[in-house]
């Protein structure tokens, strides 16, 4: 039998998970204290409720105990997410997955019995790191939970344009800190080869050539956009 899910908290993360699960055909229940958020899901999911998820009796009444997987994503409110996790475990929900906002929050959630703790911002970072093994990304450095530096082959759309024309800063919100370029040469033997040139801190008028490797600093989500180009 297909698994059933309850998503508690319809912020950006919760709502995208609920939508994805519903689209895959799973039985999905959504809960949020904000009526407007819930209304949006009324037609998409199997059940939707406006209620305070820290109310144990209310959760019991709507049958949360019989659901296979609960996903708790109540934003920055750490106390609430801990309390809801505790109630769900006590009600006997088989698998409770909780979004944590930081390490300490994650540790507490694990202590009180959360089956899986996820750090969505970090998951994005991991995905990006995984794509390091793709042919496009050559290197990856995590600078902070939000920012990183990637080395990526210049996307086709950038070739022949200056940094200013591409509008990397304005359109993509990232900064190119270096361009690695292969310059073709003729060796003493008369056969072609190339040497590598690195332009550090390229200017707005520097043009991107075919084969350039760009070192870019930015937020994960912005870097992901570049990677998808």
């Amino acid at each position: 039998m297909a698994k059933s899910f309850v998503v508690i908290g319809l912020g950006r993360f919760g709502s995208s998970i609920a939508r994805a699960l519903a689209e895959k055909g799973f039985e999905v229940m959504v809960i949020d204290s904000d009526e407007n958020e819930v209304r949006e899901f009324a037609e998409l999911v199997t059940h939707s409720f406006v209620l305070d998820a820290t109310d144990e009796r209310a959760l019991k009444d709507i049958g949360v105990a019989d659901i296979d997987v609960a996903i708790v994503s109540v934003g920055q409110n750490i106390d609430t997410s801990i309390l809801i996790t505790l109630i769900l475990k006590e009600l006997g929900v088989k698998q409770v997955i909780v979004k944590a906002v930081n390490d300490r929050h994650g540790k507490i959630l694990q202590r009180i019995g959360a089956d899986k703790v996820i750090y969505p911002e970090r998951e994005v970072a991991t995905r990006l790191a995984e794509s390091f093994f793709s042919t496009k990304i050559f290197d990856y450095i995590e600078l902070s939970p939000i920012h990183s530096i990637i080395e990526i082959a210049a996307p086709k759309q950038f070739i022949g344009k200056t940094l200013k024309q591409i509008g990397l800063r304005e359109k993509y919100n990232v900064t190119v800190i270096a361009i690695k370029r292969k310059i073709p040469i003729l060796t003493e033997k008369g056969t072609p080869d190339f040497k590598e040139e690195v332009i550090i801190g390229p200017g707005a008028d520097d043009e991107i050539s075919e084969g350039d490797i760009l070192t870019i600093l930015g937020k994960y989500e912005d870097l992901e956009k570049i990677e998808r180009l």
Binding site: T135, K136, A153, K182, P184, P192, D193, G211
Partner: protein, 86 residues
């Protein structure tokens, strides 16, 4: 006057011209045409350069290996293959 047939050497020279002018996609086409007429280690190596320049690493590795199969002494192919396989 009858047209002179295009020789392997013509394709190679044209490929080198495009390679040196950073027109890598064109260079790839010319080197491939040359190789269709006559497989040659040096031409495989130059095709590898064009692939490497455009960050097509698996393709570059493949043709550097072919170059080395035909001429195990081709030092530059071995060097490039080692560098991109790190």
């Amino acid at each position: 006057m009858p047209k002179k047939p295009i020789t392997t050497q013509d394709y190679i020279e044209l490929g080198q011209f495009y390679l040196l002018n950073q027109k890598y996609s064109e260079a790839i086409k010319q080197f491939k045409s040359a190789l269709r007429l006559q497989p040659d280690a040096k031409v495989y190596f130059q095709l590898g350069l064009a692939y490497e320049a455009t960050n097509q690493i698996p393709q570059a590795q493949e043709v550097y290996r072919k170059a080395l199969q035909l001429d195990p002494q081709l030092k530059e192919a071995a060097e490039h293959l080692e560098r991109i396989s790190k």
